[in-house]
């Protein structure tokens, strides 16, 4: 392996670094829509190969004889500056791909749990996931037309999230609205860091 950046001018990084934010939530809540609303590129899709049991395949030996399936990941990109790129990854909606959530959330600066008031309970698993891993997250309520209007207290109760978790209303199709959600995630991550310091 070539020794990285050895001949690089200090004011001109050759390879940027990256951070990511995970957009999680149940099936069809608008995760990909949100990624697309803020991404500078049309959301991209890539595929990870899994065994039928849902385990990640990192070994190609004999894989042709196995029953495999693929899980698609959607993601978008925001170039912060020439040295830093932010990626937004939507989680796969189906529950059997939990292990992918792990890969996606490791090293992430924070997460959005997107919920749909017509199926609030679908957000419960995601809330639990990020709480257990101490990953800063905000709950974003995607306000589909005709959705129930709950009070925020009712929603917190239904999702079992405490007052310390920000809860925001949003429209996943609207760029400014999604930007505001991301800002809340980052601010929340900063607050948590501050508390720890």
């Amino acid at each position: 392996m070539v020794s990285v950046q050895s001949d690089q001018r200090s004011d001109e990084p050759l390879v940027p670094s990256s951070v990511k934010i995970v957009i999680a939530g149940g099936f069809g809540v608008g995760k990909t829509t949100m990624v697309g609303a803020v991404s500078e590129i049309t959301p991209l899709r890539t595929e990870e190969l899994l065994t039928e049991a849902g385990e990640e395949i990192d070994d190609l030996a004999g894989v042709e004889g196995k029953n495999t399936t693929t899980v698609a990941l959607d993601f978008g990109r925001i170039t912060i500056n020439p040295e830093l790129v932010l990626y937004l990854f939507g989680t796969p909606g189906q529950d059997r791909f939990w292990f992918m959530w792990d890969e996606l959330s490791v090293g992430s600066i924070g997460a959005v749990v997107l919920v749909d008031t017509r199926r609030l309970e679908a957000g419960f698993g995601a809330v639990d996931f990020f709480e257990r891993r101490h990953i800063p997250f905000v709950v974003a309520v995607n306000c589909f037309e005709g959705s129930h209007s709950y009070t925020t207290d009712e929603m917190r109760q239904a999702l079992d999230v405490s007052d310390t978790v920000p809860l925001v209303l949003c429209d996943a199709r609207d760029r400014e609205s999604c930007k505001a959600v991301l800002v809340r995630v980052i601010e929340h991550a900063m607050n948590k860091l501050d508390v720890m310091a």
Partner: protein, 126 residues
Amino acid sequence: MSQHSADWWYDEAAGPMVRPYAMVSGRTRPKPAGDELTLTTQVRAIRTSSDHGSLLVEHLEIIKLCRKPLSVAEVAAYLNAPLVVVKVLLSDLIQRGDVITRDPSRTAVPVDMNLLQKVLDGVRAI
């Protein structure tokens, strides 16, 4: 940015998986050079005098894509190939020195205030 032809890896008769696996000739894992590749690891091709004669057309495609830095996930998406295959191909190129990588924010470097402030400013600015 142009998406590559959606099925250029795929062999109509033989099914979708044959092409990628044949391509990496059943190789199991990325070589040591590729061990650290995650979804967001940035890779970039550098100009070398290395002989490209032994490279697969897919390797060359990656080198072309990575003239500007891209993440592993982006390379996989533009090539329309499974991540596991792209990691093998990338690790070949890293080993050869045709592609370099860096990702200090991955695990070893903690997420600090300075980094978060930059991300915050960047998101506010879009």
